[in-house]
């Protein structure tokens, strides 16, 4: 094999340097990589002897205090679910417009419910259809699936560029808070976030092709409320830019 990247070397390191790992065999014959690993060990020693003792207390303290913070919200599913229902009712009343109503994004049987939450500095809020979000905003998702299966979250911007926000992952029926978050980049303009559910495996390339077909037919992300796929799905339009725009 070629010399492994840092990423591959880190994977080997995290796995405890197993002898059956391809990197292990490579290291035996590559002096350059052995030297890299020696440098790593020196850095690791510096962490253990200097960085860890100097920072551990603050790290533990900060993380212990943060349990009720933004993502602490997701650790209280009942509270989150109750809040979601209240919000849904309020939003349904406030935003209901018969002619051009945005997709309902609380799940009902046979559809996928999609909830988007945003953290901006210390503020956390649920994202409403058409809401303006900023570069560096951190977003998380919760879905309400019609049953066990896989879910994937993608987005498409006005240039037609498709990004994978949440790779295909298993969900049970009902509401699931998806792990991890996505930091928005600094592109501007409308962007539509799609949640897609399937009882079988989901393929990103298939979804992306559907987005491309849908964009062609609808003329833009603002009109593309549903992908041309026979899958439970939902979408939410956001606008990326600055507050003053």
């Amino acid at each position: 094999m070629n010399c492994p990247s840092d990423y591959e070397l880190d994977a080997y390191w995290l796995a405890g340097r197993p002898e059956d790992h391809p990197v292990h065999g490579h290291l035996e014959g590559c002096e350059s990589c052995r030297k890299r690993l020696e440098e790593w060990e020196q850095a690791d020693e510096k962490f253990r002897n200097e960085v860890f003792p100097a920072t551990e207390e603050e790290v533990v303290e900060r993380l212990s205090k943060s349990r009720s913070g933004f993502f602490g919200f997701f650790t209280y599913p009942r509270l989150a679910a109750a809040a979601a229902v209240v919000l849904a009712v309020v939003l349904a009343v406030a935003l209901w417009r018969p002619a051009d109503r945005e997709a309902t994004y609380i799940g009902v049987k046979g559809t996928l419910g999609l909830e988007v939450y945003c953290q901006r500095a210390e503020k956390v809020f649920r994202v409403n259809p058409g809401e303006r979000l900023l570069a560096e905003d951190r977003v998380r998702f919760a879905v309400s699936a019609p049953g066990p299966g896989q879910v994937m979250i993608v987005s498409v911007d006005q240039r037609g560029e498709v990004s994978l926000f949440y790779p295909p992952g298993p969900v049970e029926g009902g509401r699931t808070e998806l792990e991890g978050s996505t930091i928005l980049d600094d592109s501007r303009g409308p962007e539509r976030i799609f949640g897609v559910f399937s009882e079988g495996p989901l393929d990103f390339n298939v979804i992306r092709s559907a987005v491309e077909r849908g964009l062609k037919d609808s003329g833009g992300v603002e009109n593309l409320k549903k992908l041309p796929l026979e899958l439970a799905q939902n979408s939410l339009l956001i606008h990326k830019g600055s507050i003053g725009e």
């Binding site: 591959e8 995290l14 510096k46 993380l63 560029e161 498709v162 994978l164 991890g180 978050s181």
Partner: protein, 156 residues
């Protein structure tokens, strides 16, 4: 997760994060501060973080994002990255790539900056970048091509 578990996880993952930050920031003091910040952010936003291969893309994303923002926001008088990089004992081509990347990174959006760092500094394959970034390989390839073309324009 209680305090002991947080401490154990920090002891286990901290070296990896520290190395990553040191590699990008090239300054032990900044890397130390960055390490604790990255670990706190990584754990705060992913409560089930475990020290296995599954956590690697997430840690790379958080660390790289933090360090790139740090480099971008750093005052010019403290901007030691390119000079420090030149003093390294690595191969000339790698140094040239590093210098080139850092000198023009600010011209690109954060996503492209991350991809350029993974590719040109870390030598990661497009598949690895795809896994870390949560993007398709095609998108990674496209962004790298755009980065390459725009870089040539900027440097010409």
């Amino acid at each position: 997760m209680d305090r002991d578990e947080i401490s154990q996880l920090y002891r286990r993952l901290g070296p990896l994060i520290y190395r990553r930050c040191l590699r990008l920031l090239r300054d032990p003091d900044n890397a130390r501060d960055a390490t604790q910040e990255v670990f706190v952010r990584a754990l705060k936003h992913k409560e089930t973080l475990k020290a296995d291969r599954e956590c690697l893309p997430w840690l790379y994303r958080v660390a790289t994002n933090y360090c790139l923002n740090f480099i971008r926001d750093r005052k010019p008088k403290d901007d030691r990255a390119p000079e420090a990089l030149l003093q390294e004992g690595s191969s000339e081509s790698r140094l040239a790539a590093r210098q080139q990347v850092f000198s023009i990174l600010g011209e690109f959006d954060l996503k492209t900056q991350q991809i350029a760092v993974y590719s040109l500094l870390d030598g990661m394959t497009q598949e690895e970048i795809s896994a870390v970034m949560g993007l398709s390989r095609k998108t990674v390839g496209k962004k790298l091509n755009r980065f390459s073309e725009r870089s040539k324009e900027l440097l010409s």
